[in-house]
Amino acid sequence: MTRYYTEEHEWIEVDGDTATIGITDYAQEQLGDIVFVEVPAEGTSLAKGKEAAVVESVKAASDVYSPISGTAIEGNTALEDDPSLVNSSPEQDGWFFKVTVADPAELEGLMDEAAYKDFVAGL
């Protein structure tokens, strides 16, 4: 399994032809208390760089973009009852959705953990 990161502060963990997507610890820290997450329904067709999910903090709603194209295969239902999982465990239990990997070439150009750390350090 390989984990990649985007400049939009999403992480994407690829396991064969499926991938799990969430937002990074830095992102949850910046957003503050998460009170609502809307994940794509199973079967939703997602396009790279397009809106896939919504995350709301007390203050504002933000879009989460899909880092790759594919079909949503599962949303994290635990977030419906406990959206604060995104704050407490953003890169594990607070994952957002799983998607098929339609085009592995789209993964090229995403950052690995070290590159993302450098990216965040430079913000």
Binding site: E7, E8, H9, E10, I23, Y26, A27, Q30, L31, G32, D33, V35, F36, E38, E51, V54, V55, E56, S57, V58, K59, A60, A61, S62, D63, V64, Y65, P83, L123
Partner: protein, 399 residues
């Protein structure tokens, strides 16, 4: 307040998108700027200043204020004094409040009105005996000062207290915490701190430093607003936060608290396009002024009072957790009947709430409406405001 428009995570991460100011616009620093940063505040641009949006987190800060006492730095707001012969009459020409009957030591909520009755700002007026003390919104203070300078007669003096900071201490334990600072009334015969009721004010000394203290606020809780010279504000903030009841609270919780209290936010729920009657602020038009008029827009406003306004500011309670944000459209069946002016998650109630302007015909509490959020129509019920009951401490003659 903050921009609630949706942006991608990347936009939010850039730090300043919550501001209404352009990122390139230079932001001023509050007198407590370094203090906020020492307390771990996250700073954002608001009303031209770098301001603390949160310290430990909006939900925790909201809850703390509802159960203990929160300290808010609202030094971005404009503090003005109006004095001289005829000051009361001059203010009455600009505001619909009965200023002439406002007793010394009393505070009144009022509205700065445009010629057509539109709302230029909402403000607090305190009778300080020798002068009137006004607190106006930060984002509008320069326009307000211009408007007042233009309309006040020459023998009435307008002074901007630019060297003063303003703190708000809010919550059920605010009186206990402030009481421990042992403020002394500035003059003999002035009320002691614990004798002040809601919407009453007085001058005090704290360790030799002058403070203007009013029992008022913007959270629905008991509490105080304290005007203090900028050079003393850090010492006062330290002394207050040294009390076990008190924690610093950011703008984020200030917004969720005032929303639950049903208090409108200028620039969102109030604007030059709204009038006092549509806004549900009839109480701000004093009885005496309804009879005599003589305030800007009186003809239109008195007509709206008599006949009812075609649209009304209402509270809306939503189910689920998706919040309605400013600009969301409101529907009754297929018909668009209004729009949301502010909204968010209510930490106290555990569901989203909003304020909206809707057609008067569907403005009665209990009315079942729908709000369009991200292309979906979600149920919303017209709810009485405040959403969370006020807990003001009223005394004697205080209104």
């Amino acid at each position: 307040m903050e921009n609630k428009a949706r942006g991608g995570l990347c936009h939010r991460m850039s730090g300043q998108s919550m501001s209404e100011e352009a990122e390139t616009e230079s932001l001023e620093k509050l007198p407590l700027d370094a203090w906020h940063r020492r307390q771990g505040a996250r700073m954002v641009g608001f009303a031209g200043y770098e301001m603390p949006i949160q310290y430990e987190g909006i939900l925790a800060e909201h809850e703390w204020t509802r159960t203990h006492a929160g300290l808010f730095d609202v030094s971005h707001m404009g503090q003005l004094t109006v004095s001289g012969d005829g000051a009361a009459e001059a203010l009455e020409a600009l505001l619909p409040a009965d200023i002439a009957s406002l007793k010394p030591g009393c505070i009144r909520y009022s509205l700065l009105l445009a010629e057509d009755g539109g709302i230029l700002d909402d403000l607090m007026v305190t009778n300080r005996s020798h002068e009137f003390y006004l607190v106006v919104n930060g984002a509008t203070k320069w326009d307000d000062i211009g408007h007042l300078r233009e309309h006040l007669p020459d023998d009435v003096t307008l002074n901007h207290l630019a060297g003063h900071a303003l703190l708000a201490l809010q919550g059920p334990e605010a009186a206990v915490a402030l009481g421990r600072l042992a403020l002394t009334p500035a003059f003999q015969g002035m009320p002691a701190l614990d004798e002040l009721g809601f919407m009453q004010a007085g001058p005090f000394f704290w360790e030799g430093r002058p403070l203007g203290v009013g029992r008022s606020g913007y959270t629905g809780e008991d509490g105080f607003e304290i005007s203090v010279r900028a050079e003393h504000v850090a010492a006062l903030a330290d002394a207050l936060c040294a009390q076990t009841e008190v924690k610093p609270i950011g703008l984020g919780a200030r917004d969720s608290l005032r929303l639950e209290a049903g208090l409108p936010l200028y620039g969102h729920d109030l604007s030059p396009e709204t009038d006092p009657v549509s806004a549900g602020l009839e109480f701000a038009i004093s009885k005496a002024r309804r009879a005599t008029g003589g305030f800007p827009g009186a003809e239109r406003i008195l007509k709206l009072l008599a006949e009812g306004a075609p649209t009304r500011r209402v509270g809306l309670a939503l189910e689920g957790r998706a919040a309605a944000r400013e600009g969301a459209e409101v529907f009754a069946g297929e018909n668009k009947v209004g729009h949301v002016t502010s909204g968010g998650f209510s930490p106290t109630l555990g569901h989203p709430i909003a304020m909206a302007y809707v057609n008067a015909a569907v403005s009665t509490p209990g009315e079942e409406l729908e709000i369009e959020i991200r292309g979906k129509r979600l149920p919303a019920t017209v709810a009485p405001m405040p959403f969370v009951p006020h807990r003001y401490q009223r005394r004697g003659a205080a209104k």
